[in-house]
């Protein structure tokens, strides 16, 4: 997608370092919640998370009485979602890959995930992996 500005979440207070306000805040890593970011959203702006959680449910309720919104995006293996993904991929969308592991080394993929700090998806090669 490209970036205009990059903020290092490990340097200082990430909330202080981000100016805003924004139309949309997309939390692809599901690392934050709406209540933490609502101050950085424009009136009518939306915080999008990617994980169904109690925090999301609570924020969803709380947001009803506020000027911003919270939504969740979760891809389902159905015709509509897969067709849309297929379209984006055929149009050149690229998915960053951190590392690929043969399926027999699933424990290594698990450790990599546990460690965090990965950049892109952790890939499991099934077809050539046995």
């Amino acid at each position: 997608l490209g970036v205009d500005a990059l903020i290092d979440r490990k340097k200082g207070d990430v909330f202080e370092n981000v100016s805003g306000p924004f139309d949309v805040i997309f939390d692809a890593a599901a690392a934050y919640r709406w209540s933490q970011w609502k101050g950085k959203l424009k009136r009518g702006g939306t915080f999008v998370t990617t994980l169904p959680s109690m925090a999301f449910a609570a924020d969803k309720l709380m947001s009803l009485a506020s000027f911003s919104r919270v939504q969740m995006v979760y891809v389902k293996a159905n015709n509509r979602d897969l067709t849309l993904l297929g379209k984006w991929l055929s149009e050149g969308m690229e998915i960053p890959v951190d590392l690929a592991y043969p399926v027999t080394k699933l424990d290594k993929a698990l450790s990599r995930y546990e460690k965090g700090e990965f950049l892109g998806r952790i890939l499991v090669d099934v077809w050539n992996g046995f």
Binding site: L106, R121, W127
Partner: protein
């Protein structure tokens, strides 16, 4: 078909290379050949 199976929650015993019976697709279903998959939050929660 070959599979890596997790026999219990917690992955404390690790994954096992297993031979499983290839599923037979029922009416309205298809059998999918998996080339690659991603290791994500859902997989982590199960393991």
């Amino acid at each position: 078909m070959r599979a890596m199976t997790l026999n219990d929650y917690g992955a404390k015993d690790g994954y096992f290379l297993t031979d499983l019976q290839t599923p037979e697709p029922k009416q309205g279903e298809v059998l999918i050949k998996v080339h690659a998959s991603a290791f994500g939050p859902a997989d982590y929660k199960v393991a």
